[in-house]
């Protein structure tokens, strides 16, 4: 089982993404004779082995879950959070801007909860390599184990190191650098050395506050990076609803109904006093609008609350060293 190559059928030892209804996912490793218990019921792993991914499997009680093949995108939705993580909008845009593809060699720091790491490894496989740096020892160890469990360890070199203090220790190696650090500007100089020196490379820093962006831009500029620019990207989830095509005619009919009911109740009250005949039901002469008679219209709009900001993405281009050394360039 691996996050970078699909398989068709579930086998023992696979990490399976259990889908338990809208937006509920859980990563489970398939072990013979084990039973997965969740809010929906108990699901014996033995029922899963040999099944095609995408299948529905049932508990004794008849409730069901779907067995999904793990992907970096699903992992982002079910991973254990050790830090704030990157989601699909930022991950996909950064991957495109940094020109990631099979064969890319890249630095990321820090590894964090390894949401982005999984996505990078998938994209640069089979021939690329990711150099991932994490300054928090426990987080580094947890991520290293995950990469092993998910069949990504040959693609990722994980180093426990404070890159702002000690640098990356790489030279002339990578096409792309991603910095998710409190002070990314401290790592820019070392990042510059790590780029392949004979060709262009791309760097991205990820910072929630605009003041961090300003400091990073200054550092990138000082170290002669070019095409410095900055983006924000977000994804807005859309929902579809059905609403009634209410018109003023409906309003008027309902008013007439209320008015008739009021009058008839008054008449009834009067009659009750006069004739003491409360049993008799009073028919209301005007009926209210029947909801079922009103045609529907389909409308769609963004969910009421949405993510408003994740981080600012600052990008720049590393220029090949020829630019500086070519004698023609010195005027």
């Amino acid at each position: 089982m691996s996050f970078r190559k699909y398989k068709r059928y579930v086998e023992e030892g696979d990490v399976v993404a259990i889908h338990m209804g809208r937006d509920t996912l859980k990563a489970v490793t398939v072990v013979k004779d084990e039973i997965q218990s969740n809010k929906l019921g108990s699901f014996p792993h033995n029922d899963w082995i040999g099944r095609e991914y995408g299948s529905k499997v049932y508990s004794k009680k008849g409730s069901f879950v779907y067995l999904l093949h793990p992907t970096p995108e699903l992992w982002t939705l079910m991973l254990p959070h050790r830090t704030q993580i990157l989601y699909l909008a930022d991950i996909s845009f950064i991957s495109a801007y940094l020109e990631l593809k099979p064969g890319s060699r890249m630095i990321e720091s820090g590894t964090g909860s390894a949401s982005f790491s999984h996505s990078i490894a998938r994209t640069i496989a089979p021939t690329g390599h990711l150099f991932s740096f994490e300054y928090h020892e426990e987080r580094a160890n947890l991520a290293r184990q995950e990469f092993k469990d998910h069949g990504l360890d040959d693609l990722i070199t994980l180093t426990h190191r404070d890159v702002c203090k000690d640098g990356f220790g790489l030279s002339d190696t990578v096409n792309a650098v991603f910095l998710d650090l409190p002070a990314p500007w401290e790592a820019v100089e070392s990042a510059k050395k790590a780029f392949k020196q004979h060709r262009t490379g791309k760097i991205c820093t990820f910072s929630p506050c605009i003041e961090q962006v300003s400091k990073t831009v200054a550092a990138l500029n000082e170290h002669k990076f070019v095409d410095i620019t900055m983006f924000e990207c977000l994804i807005r989830n859309q929902e579809v609803y059905s609403v009634k095509k209410l018109t003023v005619d409906h309003a008027i009919q309902n008013i007439r109904h209320m008015d008739a009911r009021r009058k008839e109740n008054k008449a009834k009250a009067k009659r009750s006093i006069d004739e003491v005949n409360e049993e008799e039901p009073v028919p209301v002469s005007v009926s209210p609008v029947d909801e079922d008679d009103i045609p529907d219209m389909t409308i769609s709009r963004t969910r009421l609350e949405m993510k408003g900001h994740t981080s600012y993405l600052t990008f720049a281009t590393f220029l090949p060293v020829e630019a500086g050394t070519a004698p023609a360039a010195t005027e």
Partner: protein, 407 residues
């Protein structure tokens, strides 16, 4: 193991011009490349050079030299302000004619720097301007007179940006952030097989191909008799990458459709009996039939690792035909600039047991100017990045316990 780190002969190339515009050229060796009012340059001077450097055109022969890229400058604000200045054109005493004359009379002097200096000297109230408006003024003039250009590597990002800026309709208004999201929603990667419906003239299929790097298979289903993936050629893909792409017209998706109704394979004797012209026709026809047969074999193998759609056709009509070819748990990802086009399919998928994780998303992107002291979002922006409908394909497997209790 890089495809090509440096600029190659005969490749497709983007040049960024001082105006910020991008020009697309093909780098034919031993030719001169015209850049309109910026002059011409010798193609050979770029071959073998790295991408990303900025060059200046030195003379009419088309010689070029690399120059420093413009870095950011921190503009100190001064005491001056715009209080007393009406920024009319009269303040500028040098006319366009003067400048052209200057260029003719002093060709050596008439480089960008000197012209701009002259213009500034002749601006009656330049010194009274604030640093901000001075910087703006110089930049405006620079754009007009500099003879610089920067060759850019065509990548998924730069190709998408080029078409979106220039001709968004051609690519179905597919913005680069949305394209990037499609690739992630679809978990596109090497060593997999994808079914792609691309009515964006190849932008989508190119992006999938770049992310697969020549490992795996792409099956493109197209309308018309043959595919129109014009954008592919901008990527300069190697034969290895292009060989992973097969295509079929919509008519060939139906298993019962004959590949070619009038086609009979000749024996060697029959072939030898043909005239030369007939032989050429037969060979050409045979190649086409074999290509289609091979592509149909790939399609009918089924079990694709994803269905990726950016099409003018209603999603339901596409899903009806192509979902059976998709393996379990694989992503189905459908893009459209218009939300309304996706709604029927969204409602269907939400209520069906053949999909889970169904969502419809809108992408949102904002670019900033990051000049020191002058950081702000861009003043105009593209309005919409369109919508993506995405889900995972599942099977409505019956409950074996119920089956057992029935028997």
């Amino acid at each position: 193991s890089e495809d090509f780190p440096h600029i190659k002969a005969d490749q497709c190339l983007f040049l960024t011009l001082p105006s910020g515009n991008v020009k697309q050229i093909t780098l034919k060796p031993d030719t001169k490349i015209p850049l309109g009012k910026f002059g011409t340059f010798k193609a050979n001077a770029l071959i073998g050079q790295p991408f990303g450097l900025t060059y200046q055109i030195l003379n009419n022969s088309g010689d070029i030299k690399p120059v420093r890229n413009t870095a950011l400058e921190d503009i100190e604000s001064t005491e001056a302000n715009n209080r007393e200045i009406f920024d009319s054109k009269d303040a500028q005493k040098l006319t366009h004619e003067d400048i052209e004359k200057m260029k003719r009379e002093f060709p050596d002097e008439a480089d960008e720097e000197s012209i701009i200096k002259k213009i500034i000297e002749s601006h009656s109230s330049f010194e009274k301007k604030t640093e901000w408006s001075k910087a703006k003024y110089v930049q405006r003039k620079k754009k007009k007179f500099s003879k610089e250009f920067t060759p850019m590597r065509p990548t998924l990002y730069s190709v998408a940006e080029y078409f979106f800026e220039r001709n968004p309709e051609k690519i179905g208004f597919l913005r680069v952030d949305t394209l990037a999201q499609i690739l992630n929603f679809a978990n596109v990667h090497a060593e997999a097989r994808y079914l792609v419906v691309d009515d964006t003239q190849g932008l989508l299929i190119s992006a999938v191909a770049e992310r697969m790097g020549g490992y795996g298979q792409i099956m493109g289903i197209h309308d018309g008799l043959s595919s129109n993936y014009d954008v592919l050629r901008y990527h300069n893909f190697s034969k290895r990458v292009l060989d992973t792409i097969s295509t079929l017209p919509w008519t060939m998706v139906d298993k019962d459709e004959p590949t070619s109704d009038g086609w009979v394979e000749f024996t060697e004797e029959e072939f030898e009996a043909l005239t030369d012209r007939e032989k050429i026709n037969y060979t050409r026809r045979r190649k086409t039939v074999k290509r289609i047969e091979a592509a149909r074999a790939i399609l009918n193998e089924g079990g694709f690792d994803g269905l990726i759609v950016a099409s003018q056709y209603l999603p339901m009509s596409i899903l009806d035909r192509l979902l059976p070819f998709v393996a379990g748990s694989r992503p189905v990802v459908i893009y459209n600039i218009n939300k309304e086009v996706l709604i029927d399919a969204f409602l269907h998928m939400r209520s069906s047991n053949e999909y889970v994780g169904v969502q419809m998303t809108e992408s949102w992107l904002r670019r900033y100017q990051v000049l020191p002291g002058r950081t702000h979002p861009e003043m105009t922006t593209s309005a919409g990045g369109g919508y993506i409908l995405s889900a995972y394909r599942t099977f409505d497997t019956p409950n074996p316990h119920l089956e057992a209790s029935k028997s």
